[in-house]
Point group: C2
Chain length 546, copies 2
Amino acid sequence: MERYNLTLNKIWEYVKEINGDVEVAHLPPHGNNIRSTYAREYERTLRLADGLRRLGIGPRDKVATMDWNTIWHFDLYWAVPGMGAILHPLNVRLAPEDLVYIINHAGDKALVYHRDFAPLVEKIRPHLKTVQIYIQISDGAGAVGKDPEIEDVIKSGEPRPFPDLSEDTIATIGYTSGTTGKPKGAYFTHRALTLHTMSSALMFSVARGFARPECAEEVCTFLQLVPMFHVHGWGTPWTFALMGWRQVYPGRFDPNHVVKLIAEERVKSLAGVPTMLYMLLTAPEFPKYVNKIREVKPIFVVGGAALPKELAKRAAEAGFIPRVGYGLTETAPVLTLGYFRPTEKLPQDVEEYYSVLTATGLPIPFVDLVVADENLNPVPRDGKTMGEIIVKAPWVTPEYLGDPEKTRESFRGGWFRTGDVAVWYPDGRLRIVDRAKDVIKSGGEWISSLQLEDLIATHPAVAQVAVIGVPHEKWGERPVAVVILKPGAAATEQDIINHLQKFVDAGKIPKWWLPDKVIFVNQLPLTGTGKIDKKVLREQFKNALK
Amino acid sequence: MERYNLTLNKIWEYVKEINGDVEVAHLPPHGNNIRSTYAREYERTLRLADGLRRLGIGPRDKVATMDWNTIWHFDLYWAVPGMGAILHPLNVRLAPEDLVYIINHAGDKALVYHRDFAPLVEKIRPHLKTVQIYIQISDGAGAVGKDPEIEDVIKSGEPRPFPDLSEDTIATIGYTSGTTGKPKGAYFTHRALTLHTMSSALMFSVARGFARPECAEEVCTFLQLVPMFHVHGWGTPWTFALMGWRQVYPGRFDPNHVVKLIAEERVKSLAGVPTMLYMLLTAPEFPKYVNKIREVKPIFVVGGAALPKELAKRAAEAGFIPRVGYGLTETAPVLTLGYFRPTEKLPQDVEEYYSVLTATGLPIPFVDLVVADENLNPVPRDGKTMGEIIVKAPWVTPEYLGDPEKTRESFRGGWFRTGDVAVWYPDGRLRIVDRAKDVIKSGGEWISSLQLEDLIATHPAVAQVAVIGVPHEKWGERPVAVVILKPGAAATEQDIINHLQKFVDAGKIPKWWLPDKVIFVNQLPLTGTGKIDKKVLREQFKNALK
């Protein structure tokens, strides 16, 4: 008998059959509310796929999207892979130039865009070499321009069944943000995403701290906050459909609006980057809804960057249950979640408790994860020794699209090198301490630039700080701190060193981590995504210790 | 990058790492209590695998077991597939002759047996052509005979890591009970069992009626009641390990002892055939524990045969939550579970409620299930039209071992034909009404022998009944009832027909289902597993309507 193929279609058929009457709601800030169900959207995805087919989209064709978290984006997540084509969500925050590069590099055949991006599409359209089909999502606000509207595409299609697909069919592609060099393309098969969905769904249903007891008996609500143009929106559109949860799609991110939705729709779980959580907590409308939120106690899964302890505490006070997740564009994304073991006793001490809570978590099933030295051997689980996180999982991209050189750099011996530097605790948890390219290699040992930055930032005069490794004759590299002072504040190099010395005395960092130099500046160079560009800094100060 | 292989080893490593401190307890009736943990058993399975290696077991060698539900059986479930060998649990209830046939047909190289089966092993040993290695599980009661003891095998091994295996490596084989003809062999790869485990674990964690809210926050206990020689003990040794539940292994089935364990170990979930449930409810010691059981409310998943409404009601009154499951030796086994949709309102009417509760359930994720006519087309979901259940799933055996003829009969167009006849309800649930070989084909329509038997059995004078199809010139086949009366009771053919006529009048069955003849006998022929042998009956009464 032939192999049973693991495809997203099998999950979608299951969702339709079992969870068909559960609501999927599109509730954007501008009020074009649509309350649908999985069963209704299933039928619409069949029509959408057939409509795309009639426009000329076939198997293996790439369909790019530029969209908020809308119900059409949800439909495209199922319909495009379902018909054997390849979904390619584009990060709408990128510079137009990068978008053009990515679309041309991927060879996208169609571009489905929300009307909010119509001006952007007009700007890049002349430079797109492969796109033949443009479709607009007007989201109830009236179409602009001449491209066909997605509802008309859906209406033009018949609800023909999805084809039988091999599980090795590529379902999606996505590009890294490209902080160093050009964006790199990752791709994911139906098998990869199906297993990612199963493993995630199991964790959200069974893992301590993620499973919600009451949701075993009532229909609970998930709100899709993570932009769906970021690594499959972390996979949750598929995961929570399989789990039979109600889903809310909030459209364009508007913190006041999301806070209102969390309260009024009784959202039990959502996920996002720390900045989003911060924006919700500080939204002007937040106080109006805080009591309701305290009553519902939503789980907020923070990923994309470390969850600072202070933010975790603040979220907990505001009624959220803060949790962490970790993953990358190349890993579909989920690798770890900050859950607890069934038998685990959490620390009573508040600081220790939040240390466990904000660590990078534990691997989910089918993720082989090692914190490794440069020979890919595990470092000791001592909470001190740094190493690079390397992983194997069914949902890691097999390579970078059309980039054998970067592939060779990042894939070794069956392992994917994440480029993230972490320490490994005796309990198996890990904590990311740096990016591999930013970690400072001094005398064969590693110094975490992030950790030094966190400590320097606690000095009252410091507004911003970057710590970089600068070439040194004897030690290879030594740390140098580049500091912006707060307006009106004053501090000397010695003040900063004395401040750090207190952490040395307390045993928090070793003495040899103290920077060799502190440089004061008025401005720090930024990357396209708003992070401090350490590559530029390293070039600028490469002779600082000569 | 090479494929990530889905193997039981990946699950076992995850269990060790995350659920390592959770207890696995061996608590047999004779009191050789062992309270261990997953982490400790993990280490022991590495040693056991290495010990088996030293005795000459290699990849693809078959290791048969004859054992109760012991902690050693649990170890063998992980160690044998883990080392790349093939686990072959033997049904210890079979006749010695059948065991000899199966072991020789499979070509087992080793036989690991519980000391309780030492006399049986002595009886069959001279007839086993391929077994070179015998190992005894003495279970704390002292070894008998000269075969090595399993604890010595474990002690002889080093905790060497399991090898990397392809997911297509065969992990287990199992034989059908062979009610018709010789037992048939099914086999299951690591991929099949890994996906079976994932899908089952998700259902037990998220599906309405199976998920237990409190177990999201506390360590709950599963008791392995289904004999592990029956289709992987329904897979639960693997499933509940992945879920992080505590497990209790009760040794030889002793109803009084199991009832005590359920109460004292606060068992939250267990599974078994209806007879086992009945034996628990009627165990002499049951009244002693009923209050505790009512407090814990264990879920009891009934499979292997239909759950009669009366037994379900009785179980519910006694404090159990009765649930159903359905599967076959060929399907690993789980195909459906009697869970509810997230949005489902259960009927208020008690009879209707128990009808839903005792139906054969809904497919679990990755089971494609159709109730089909003879051309494999779906029958209407009208709750009336009968069809054969046909399935596809990643965990269906690809064929019968060395039996191309039976394979051709049962596998068609990518579908496995279960041989079970069911009706399909509008809500997607199904209810098995007969075995395909027992269903009566009258004038091109099907009559359920089971349903007629159930109705005839409600006549106060009837002790046992079998309804068979007997050749008929005009209709092809017509139903004939073969009845044993209760001692001292009396009834005529017309009494039985009049009794059935009431159900015709009430619209429960059509008039043309009434048997053409009722034959009274003193004895019914039985198969090796104690079921009524309809094949013999059909032969005996083939001329009854001529």
